[in-house]
């Protein structure tokens, strides 16, 4: 009993300072921790898109065949891309809306290229949960605001592809693109 108490006291008094063994423990565990992180990083990163997926990342679209009021679906990064030739009436409808009243406030000008206001190019991916909205194909339901309508959870987009009603939080995404001629765009 007495020796035990004595032993405990010895440990407590040594505990006041840093022992050589504490240093070795911390150094060893830290070193192993750094090693573990170095091993985990590639194991996590392998899940990200591979080089071949990233390589297929631009799309060229020919606009010459798209009549006014018509829209087409193209493929960009293996997702649908909506290219729409707006009518004067649709442009007027989009401009008539006060942007401040929108969930994701944007004007039509901010969503198209200067001087090419009739060409609305957006992703065909609903910003809610990623379904393809209707409205780009012939005779499809364009929703209450004449733009696009997502059948999955009932999101309505207007003629500038801005979210107007339903659960989607954002306007349809406008990808980076540029006009390579009057009738051709390069997306991506």
């Amino acid at each position: 009993m007495a020796t035990e108490v004595h032993g405990n006291e010895a440990v407590v008094s040594e505990g006041e300072g840093v022992r050589r063994r504490d240093f070795i423990n911390i150094a060893a565990v830290s070193f192993a921790g750094v090693g573990a992180v170095a091993v985990v990083l590639p194991l996590v990163n392998q899940m990200n898109p591979s080089a071949d997926v990233l390589a297929a990342s631009t799309t060229e679209v020919d606009l010459s065949a798209i009549a006014e009021g018509q829209a087409i679906k193209a493929v960009f990064r293996s997702q649908p891309l909506f290219v729409r030739h707006l009518t004067a009436k649709e442009i007027a409808e989009a401009d008539a809306v006060d942007p401040a009243s929108l969930r994701d406030p944007q004007t039509l000008e901010e969503r198209v290229v200067d001087g090419k206001k009739q060409w609305l190019i957006t992703m065909g991916v609903c910003t809610h949960l990623g379904c393809v909205p209707l409205g780009a194909g012939e005779g499809e339901n364009r929703g209450e605001f004449g733009g696009y309508f997502c059948p999955c959870h009932g999101s309505h987009y207007d003629t500038a592809a801005r979210i107007r009603k339903g659960p989607a939080p954002k306007n349809l995404l406008v990808p980076a693109y540029k006009f390579t001629s009057d009738t051709a765009v390069l997306v991506g």
Binding site: V44, M47, N48, P49, S50, V53, K73, V75, R77, S78, Q79, P80, R103, G124, V125, H128, L129, G130, C131, V132, C150, P151, C152, H153, G154, G166, P167, A168, P169
Partner: protein, 446 residues
């Protein structure tokens, strides 16, 4: 741990004695599901569903391992390889239908198992750990089922993957990188299909591991029972084998009949025709829904159609989409704190008159949510989902604590044996057992 009066394992055959000395595995099994595990004598048929869930997992493992021998996890050929299984592989159609419907049956028995626990208060001390591990198993099952449904690479598979991984996009700032990381691309593709297959093969074994922990944790206090009164002596229990192996055997027979009816007479009853169309990234099916077992949660997800804003300023605190996702996850994670929300000391719903009524309402509520989750996203279903989702959370967060504080429970029986004998007396069998009753009465009150 077991009760002190439990039988000890005594190997009869010299070979078993030899094995037991080197590796006490037979002893372990005997004490877990054999004559060495003492179980309350009054379990009703709702106590069959744990064993049935174990059986459903076994069916899924066996059929799944065989299907993997014929399936090809490549976006180019996955759909065709499933059709190859259906048409060309010997008995392939049966194996695939058994696997698809086996998943549905697995969820049916697990849902009954969960509601059994909710009614009889199986989540209460000292069995909280059993309940927590059960919730973990349920989450793993949901992940496994989701990834399995993607593998046939039909329209519902593809768009299910799109929608479910889209949930993660709701997370601010890091959402889109997380979605891309999960899918290995900007949309579901070959990389997604391959990793889902790998994980779909792995997770059932993880589930099996957590089930072992679930049973281990259960066997420390021992099984609960319909009265919720703890075991007080040897007269309250019977050995698991042969009493409950026989009773569970009957349940397994009924399960097998239902399973056979589904597989042979209604194999596509619970499926969606759209999944027999190959995945098309350019076109979403008109009516996209998950499998039926996710419907209640899907309804909660869709119930949130308005942003949470600071009133009169229009500043959005949490967008509707994130609210829906948070609520859906919360509806399950809520179960993790249930043992501490329900503070009533009485375990079994049988003796809780007020709780019993609200429990029935909860069951109805979950069915309503399920119906709305399978219905199109339009009125009146959206509004009904909103009311039902609100009630679901209110049941756990508001109603349960209130009931616990105001309810006057019915008098509890002194022991399991007392409850059993009182029941048989009601049936007029009491006369036949006077000696037995008087024998046991003193221990019952002890």
């Amino acid at each position: 741990m077991s009760f002190p009066w439990a039988e000890h394992y005594t190997p009869k055959h010299p070979l078993m004695k030899w094995v037991d000395e080197k590796l006490p595995l037979p002893r372990f099994v005997y004490n877990a599901v054999g004559g060495g595990y003492e179980v309350p004598r009054n379990l009703n048929y709702f106590w069959n569903f744990g064993v049935l869930a174990g059986m459903a997992l076994t069916v899924q493992l066996i059929t799944g391992i065989i299907l993997a021998m014929h399936y090809a996890a490549n976006a180019g050929v996955a759909f065709d390889s499933v059709e190859h299984i259906m048409r060309d592989v010997n008995s392939g159609w049966m194996l695939r239908y058994a696997h698809a419907n086996g998943a549905s049956l697995f969820f049916i028995v697990v849902y009954i198992h969960i509601f059994r626990g909710l009614f009889y208060g199986s989540y209460k001390a000292p069995r909280e750990m059993v309940w927590l591990l059960g919730v973990v198993i349920f989450l793993l099952m949901m992940a496994t089922a989701f990834m399995g449904y993607v593998l046939p690479w039909g329209q519902m598979s593809f768009w299910g993957a799109q929608v479910i991984t889209g949930l993660f996009e709701a997370i601010p700032v890091v959402g889109t990188p997380i979605k891309t990381w999960l899918l290995g691309g900007f949309a579901p593709g070959n990389a997604s299909l391959n990793r889902f297959f790998s994980l779909h093969y792995l997770l059932p074994f993880v589930i099996a591991g957590v089930i072992i922990l679930h049973i281990w944790a259960l066997h420390i206090p021992g099984s609960s029972n319909p009265t919720g009164v703890e075991v007080k002596g040897p007269q309250d229990t019977v050995p698991f084998h042969p009493y409950y192996t026989a009773k569970d055997g009957f349940g397994v027979g009924v399960f097998a009949i239902v399973f056979a009816l589904l597989v042979f007479f209604g194999p596509n009853l619970l499926g969606h025709p759209d999944n027999y169309i190959a995945a098309n990234p350019m076109s979403t099916p008109a009516h996209i829904v998950p499998e039926w077992y996710f419907w209640p949660f899907y309804a909660i997800l869709r119930a949130f159609t308005m942003d949470l804003t600071i009133p009169f300023t229009g500043i959005v605190l949490i967008p509707a989409k994130l609210l829906g996702v948070l609520a859906m996850f919360a509806s399950i994670l809520l179960l993790l704190v249930l043992p501490w929300i329900d503070t009533s000391p009485v375990r079994s719903g049988t003796y809780r008159p007020l709780f019993k009524k609200f429990f029935a309402l909860l069951v109805v509520d979950v069915f309503v949510l399920g119906y709305c989750g399978g219905a199109p996203a339009e009125e009146p279903y959206v509004m009904i989902s909103q009311i039902a989702a609100a009630y679901y959370f209110a049941h756990f967060l508001i109603i349960l604590p209130i009931i616990a504080s105001i309810e006057r429970p019915l008098p509890l029986p002194g022991s399991i044996t007392e409850a059993v004998l009182a029941k048989s007396k009601h049936k007029g069998e009491g006369e036949a057992l006077p000696g037995m009753g008087s024998d046991l009465q003193p221990t019952g009150h002890a």
